[in-house]
Structures are given as structure tokens and as C-alpha cells.
Symmetry: C3
Subunit: 357 residues, 3 copies
């Protein structure tokens, strides 16, 4: 590995994305009563392993020159993105896997993610991270389905302090999402656009989440799980379109819709998935990443297709690439998740050493 | 809304202020034993609502061109500032209002704040945020006074872990305060001056807070409420003067005085306000924001007036504007708070759905 | 004090280092069951005092011109570094000292650190912070040895939530370490190199820490103390060499080795130090800062010596300076710690007012 020439001072967005992966995803998953330390600790382990493997895999595919991998800060950001996809999948299988299984999962998912990225080049963007990660994780958790887990509902409950810890994760993801969506945009206008659009979408998403959580619960009480998760759906859904001419109004509307879709998903769709399809989605990643990710892919495709030369400066063909990106990512996630989950994880040692707690 | 031309890469100060509003103010208020999640959750809700409304209101007043509101990153920072003022007012009425009341309060306070800003143009600066927010909140809490709240003192108590969560809020406010005071300064010298002066004032404030907290308590024990709050007073008080030629020595002195004023306020003034004036100031915002804000206004006026052409490059008339700014903000806060508190909040539904806890 | 001319916009690394000192070190030490608030609160107090004293001491030695101390953002970063050294020493004596003793310790350690820096000029770099801080703290804790402390082992235990708070500290130290090691590097290439090398070393260190923690414990369980501490050793060890031509491969190897050394230190060396040498190292700073700091000094010396003109552009004599820096720092830390610990702390009032808990 050698260093490419550096362009400017260390970009702030690098550290923000880094904080999101380790603090954001780590603490978001601490809401389980007896799994707080496991969530943060295992997330730390798999992310640290994943970024090293991602640096190698993405390096071989994207920045391999003269037998050496060029590493710059942008590569570190892309490695963090790739690991973000693994953290999302981790959310679906939280509490059901040993550290060794997690490392095996990370190894294969990072590899598939890098291949997927190589196929898509320039299309998909941040949408790939969420859609690929979520459907990969959901496929794995379907294969690892254990009926007896349903009986230990009390262990899945949360306690007062674990919810406050989870809010640390939620807030850091929410606050740094503008950096996440703008980290690899071109500097200047596109980066500002991405940050402002994401900020608007997230703000609007919080309001509809709270409103629908209150409407759908008995006695108008708010459900903390919705506030911890569905408030972030707005950031996922503008992932692809944020740096385009989505405009703040467009972003507010996307955030508005995603807050509804995600909250309704938590209330009605998640119990259905578990009872009928046997998909035990511990953190509800289907509501937070899978559905908003698909909406984001569609929003991105429409925005790109609608952009004429004089507004946006790129050709309309970008819209078609975006749409194709969704299907390629979906197919790779489902096929990859099925193979990895079946061939590797379900036959490996399921004893769960866990942490000294 | 359209985008103004962007000047440079995404400024770091934007994210810092964002973290202060959501993590800083949110967690600072978790010290109440039974209200931790409500503090973080409701702060999240009102801030997300407030920034959208502030973008519109400040847009109409300050960046309305050809029927469109121009939105840049500076507008997002100003919206965060405006919401900061709402979060401060929230501190006074913490635990006494329902989410719906909070949203109504936010709607009116943001509107009044934007009008106040429009009247003051260029004078007041960050001092307005603290003074306006604090006196608005104190007026509202006076109107919402409920005698029976005094009897449930035990609920107002804190427990061990809630104090550690509150320290997360304190530390992030303390650490990013230099960004808060320098976020809308001109880049270069003024921004560096603002950051350095704020850093010095905050550091000095911690020492006097600890010293006086230890002096005024029985047996020399420290009171955690003082450490969580009074240590921040130094940042409030240099808000206006920080980017001027206050010098590090001047900042150290301002921080020194504010640590004393704020701690003495917690020990002697707060019980007096509650028993005699019926102002139940849950978080002690009178000690942290109101008094240091006024001191900051005076410091700013004196520094501006003292600055001669060759030191500072602006005319001495700025000092007069600063002084006038204090009085306009105070008058608007008291009148606005009285009208909103009386007309809106006290007659609206007081049942408190709260969160599922 | 006057202001030197500012070069550019406020650097992000300044705030990152600031967060590390106050949030990182503060929360890292909250793992003790009955000392959580003391750790964060006293760390806050001593750091706020230390940065003021460090600004003066470093100012007199390094930026004193025409009877005035020039203060820029770089001075604030250096003051934070100096205080970092004090926070490290605090880790060894955690739970054994009163706030007044801590302030006396800070006063002397900051002074000695500034003198040490003045002697070394340009050699040692970040290695000095860790080695000096750790051996100073270890010497003081040896002198303050109290046999009866061994009996109250139960108080030294941790509980579930205190470990999650400690993980906040660990993660922020881990995430911002690239900023720590690159904060005072030259902008551009050297800064990017420092950040990338630190990132690689830290990632690799997490894996060997987890692997060896699992190997050395009964039943393959992980020990949270190792995850909280030894995972950071990789950042310490590349402190000096990170901005040099260490290369990512080199960094991965250094991180790999440090994870092993640090974990083995926690398991075998720490009990030996306490029982035989009467060094009660509460937070295990010998494993996290002292040994990796020495390794870092050696790595820095070797890398500097190996750098030929065409790779690195400096003379090989730098290697010798680095090696000399280690010994000067060690000697000053041991002598200074012995004098301060013996003369000041052990005779001062040992009653421990503590916080109202």
C-alpha cells in the first residue's frame, strides 16, 4: 500500500462517519436489557475487523495500481460505508450469534459488498449500503430462525437506562447523517446540497414519527422504539437523492413519508414478518433500512431522471442506472445472505461465549 | 427555496452546534430521576420541529429573494441557534408540560425570536439566544405555577446514573461552546478569537464553580447540579464579546466572575425565586442563562465601546447598539412569554401523555 | 497575551482532541462502581485547571515575545496534550486522592511536562505524553501505596451500566485518536499519513486484543476491561511514527503487537506489579500508556532512522533524537513523580471530601 497525493486538510466528514459506525450503530443496539455490552462490544469488534478487510477488498477492486493499493482518506470513508452495511445486518441477528459467527458473516458480507459496488460503479450510492445490508441481514436471520426465541420475550425487553443509552446512538446517527450522505460528494455545491437536504428530511421525519407513534399506540403514548429508529428513516431515504436537485421541499416530503412508512412498519409489518415469514428482526432494520432504502432508490432514480441538463448538468440516463442498481443490490443481498447464512453460519458452532457480564 | 452559492467546504461548526442542541441540551436535562427519556425525547421533538419553523421564519425575514427562501449552511446554523433559545426555555418548564404544549410553545417562541432578531440586526448576537430564551421560559413557568409540585420533591431528585447521563450533556455543551460562539463569526481572525476567548472563559469558570460549590455546601462537598450547570456560565457570558478584542485575560476574568454568580444563584437565589416569586425553575436556567446572558450583554457593550478604530476596526457606536439589544430582547421575552403562557398553554389540555416508561 | 495571526479556519482536530481529554478520559474511568461521577467530575476539574496552567507554562517556554504570550489554536491543542498527560497519571491514582491533591499534582506535572517539552524540542512528540504521564502516575501511586486498599476489592468492581459508560470513553478515544496523532502535524501529506496510519493500527489492535483476551480467560469469555483499554494501545504506539513513512502495513503490525502486549500486561503483569512492587494501578495505565508508549518511541526511532532522504526528506539523525527523548522523558517522570508524590501529596490532607453521591 502506498499513499496517493492528498488534496486538502483532513475532512471532517471522515470522523463523523467513523463516529456513526462505532458510537451510532453500537449504542443504537444497546436497547436490549441483557445485551447492552454485547451490542457495543461486538459492533466494535466486527467493525474493526470489517474496515481492514474492506480496505483490502475495495482496494483490490478500485485503487489497485502497479501491484500496490493506494490508500487515502476517501478509502477510509468507503471502508466505513461498507462496514455500515455489516452493522445494519448485525441489527437483524442481534442476540442470536456468537462473535466467531459475526466475524464469518463480516468476512463474506464485506466481500459481496465490494463485488456489488464494483458492478454498480457510480450508481446506487448510499442506497446500496442500506438496501444491501438490510436484505442480507434479513435473509440470514430467516435462516437462523429459532422458534424458542419467541418464548423468551422478557429478555428482549428494554429497561429505563438501556433506552437512554440507545438514544445516544440514535442522536449521533441523526446528527451526523448529513455528513454520511455528503461524505463522498464533490466538494462545494453538491456537498452543501447533500447536507442541507438530509437535514431537512431528518427534521421532517421526526415529526411524522412522533405523530404516528402517538396515533397508533393505545392512549396516545409514544413508543421509544419508534423514536429511536423511525426518526432516522428520513436520512436513509434521501441517501441517493440528497446531492441531486431534490430541493429542501422535496426532502421535507420524503422525510414526511418515511416517518409514516417506518412507524407503520414497526407497528403492523414487524409482527407479521415474525409470525408468518419467521423473520425475527431484532432491531427492526426492515423498517429503518430496507423500506426507506428502497424508497430512497426510487427517489434517486426519479430525481436523476427528472434533472434536465440546465438544472443538474448530467444526462437523464443516470435515472436508469439508479433503478438498475436497486435490483442488482437486492438480488446480491438475497442470494448472498442465503448462501452465507445457510452454508456458513447455521452449521458453525452456535455456542455463545459472549462477554463476562 | 433555492440554494445560494456555497462558499467553501461544509463548516465543522455547523455540526458542533447541532450536537449541542440535540445531545447537549437533551442530556443536560436527564438529571431528573423519572424524566430522563422525556427530557431527551421531547427535546428531540421540539428541536426537530423548531428548526423547520425557524428555517421558514428566519428565511422570510432575512433571506427572501424573488419569492424564494435561500437556504445555505449558515441558515441551518441560525435555525439551530433559534432552537437553542427554545431548549433553554424548555429547561424552566421541564416536567410540567405535555408534548403538544411544547410544540405550541416552540411555534410561538421561534416566531418571536425571529421578529426580535429582525429588530436587532447585528446587535446582541449570541447574548440574545440566552437572555431571550431564559426570560421567556421563566415567564411561562411563572404562569404555569402549580403549588402542589413543591410537595413531590422526591420526584425532582436525581439518581446516580441520571447524573452521569447529565454529564454527557454538560461536557458536550462545554466542549463545543467555542464552536457555538464562533459559528457565525467571520472566518479567520474573528473566528479564532471567538474560539480562544470562549475556551479561556469556560476553563476559568469551572474552577470558581468548584471552589464556590465546595465553600457554600456543608462539609465542603461538591453539588453535582453546580458542576453540571454553573461550569457553562462562562461560555454564555462571553457569547457577545468573544469575537471582539476581549483578550484571553479578559475572558478568564469574565469566566471567573460567572462561575461565582451562577453558583451563588443556585444556592441562594433559586430557592428565593421559588418560594417568593413562585417561579419553579426546574433546571436553574436563571443561573445558567439569564444572569450570565445579561453579564454577557454588558461585557459585549463595554468591549465594543472600548474598542478604538486601530484595535478593532469598527466604530464605538456598536456599544450602544449592544446595550439597546439587551433591553429589546428582555422586553420581548417578558411580554411574549406572558402572552403565550397565559393565552395558549395554561388553557390547553394539561394531561400529560408522556412516553411509555 | 496577544493573538498571533491565524492561518486558516478553525481546525477540526482541535475540537477532537478536546473531546478526547474531557469525554474520552473522563468516561473511560467511570468503570469503577462507586466512582463514576468522581471520575468524570474530577477529570473535568483537573483538566480545566491544567489547560490554563499549561497555556501559561508552555507560553513562557515556547511563544513568549515582547513580554506577551502569543496564543493561537495550536497553543490550545498543545495545552490539551499536556493535560492528556495529567489525565493518564490520574488513571493510576483513581479513587485514592482528594480534589485538592489532584490540583497540586496537576500543578507540578504540567510544569514538569512543559520543562520536558522544552528540553526535547521536536523529538518525542506524542510518545512523550504517554510515557511521561504514565511513569509519573505510576511513581506517585507507588508512593501513595495503601495496603488496606487491597481488602476493599468489591468497591473496585464494576457494574453493568458503568461498563457501558466506560465504553463511551473508549470509543471516543478510539475514534478521535487519528486526530490526536495528526493534530500538530504539518497540513497536507503528513497529516493524512498520521491519520491513516493511526486508523490502521487501532483497527488491527482491536482484533488481537479480543483474540488474546478470549485465549487468556477461562472458558473463552471476553474481559471488558481489556476491550475498554487494550484496544487503544495501537493508537499510543504509532503516536510518534504515524506521520512518518510507517506505511499502513507497518501500522497494522504495530497495532497487532500492541494488542498482545497490552492484554498480556493486564492479565499477568498488573497483578505482579501490585503484589510485588506495591504499585496499585487502578486503570491499568502501565498496559495502555507506559508499555505502548515505549514501543512507540522505539518504532518512531527506527522509522526515523530508516528513512532515507528520498523517501522522507529529513536526515537520519532524527532517529537518535527520538531515542534520547525516551530516556529524558522517563528520567523526568520518575524523578518528578517521586518528588511530587513524596513531598506534596503524601503529607497533604488525605481526607477525601468527594462529591455528594
Amino acid at each position: 500500500m502506498v499513499f496517493p497525493q492528498s488534496q486538502n486538510i483532513l475532512p471532517k466528514t471522515f470522523q463523523d462517519v467513523h463516529v456513526m459506525i462505532f458510537v451510532g450503530f453500537g449504542f443504537l443496539m444497546t436497547f436490549l436489557q441483557r445485551y447492552g455490552f454485547g451490542a457495543v462490544g461486538f459492533n466494535f469488534l466486527l467493525a474493526a475487523f470489517g474496515i481492514q478487510w474492506a480496505l483490502l477488498m475495495q482496494g483490490w477492486f478500485h485503487s489497485f495500481e502497479n501491484g500496490k493499493i493506494l490508500i487515502g482518506v476517501e478509502n477510509l470513508i468507503n471502508a466505513d460505508f461498507c462496514v455500515g452495511s455489516v452493522c445494519i445486518a448485525f441489527g437483524a441477528i442481534l442476540g442470536k450469534t456468537s462473535p466467531v459467527q459475526l466475524l464469518i458473516l463480516t468476512l463474506f458480507q464485506v466481500t459481496l459488498f465490494a463485488v456489488n459496488e464494483y458492478i454498480l460503479i457510480n450508481a446506487g450510492g448510499s442506497m446500496t449500503i442500506h438496501t444491501f445490508g438490510a436484505y442480507f441481514g434479513l435473509t440470514v436471520t430467516r435462516i437462523l430462525y429459532r422458534p424458542n426465541l419467541e418464548q423468551s420475550k422478557d429478555k428482549q425487553g428494554s429497561v429505563y437506562h438501556s433506552d437512554l443509552f440507545a438514544m445516544i446512538g440514535t442522536l449521533y446517527l441523526w446528527l451526523y447523517w448529513p455528513s454520511f450522505n455528503s461524505a463522498v460528494s464533490n466538494h462545494g455545491d453538491a456537498q452543501h446540497r447533500a447536507a442541507i437536504n438530509t437535514y431537512c428530511s431528518l427534521a421532517s421525519c421526526v415529526l411524522t414519527t412522533v405523530a404516528f407513534s402517538s396515533l397508533l399506540q393505545k392512549k396516545g403514548k409514544l413508543d421509544m422504539v419508534h423514536i429511536q429508529n423511525a426518526t432516522l428513516a428520513g436520512g436513509v431515504a434521501v441517501g441517493t437523492g440528497a446531492e441531486m436537485m431534490l430541493t429542501p421541499y422535496g426532502s421535507l416530503i420524503v422525510g414526511f413519508l418515511c416517518g409514516i412508512v417506518s412507524t407503520v412498519g414497526f407497528v403492523y409489518l414487524m409482527p407479521f414478518l415474525e409470525s408468518k415469514l419467521h423473520i425475527q428482526d431484532t432491531c427492526g432494520i426492515h423498517n429503518l433500512h430496507a423500506m426507506p432504502g428502497l424508497i430512497g432508490g426510487i427517489v434517486g432514480a426519479v430525481t436523476a431522471a427528472a434533472a434536465t441538463e440546465d438544472v443538474y448538468g448530467k444526462e437523464g440516463v443516470q435515472g436508469g442506472f439508479q433503478a438498475a442498481g436497486i435490483f442488482v443490490s437486492l438480488a446480491m443481498a438475497l442470494a448472498g445472505g442465503a448462501i452465507v447464512g445457510d452454508g456458513r453460519l447455521s452449521h458453525s458452532n452456535c455456542s455463545h461465549p459472549g462477554l463476562q457480564e
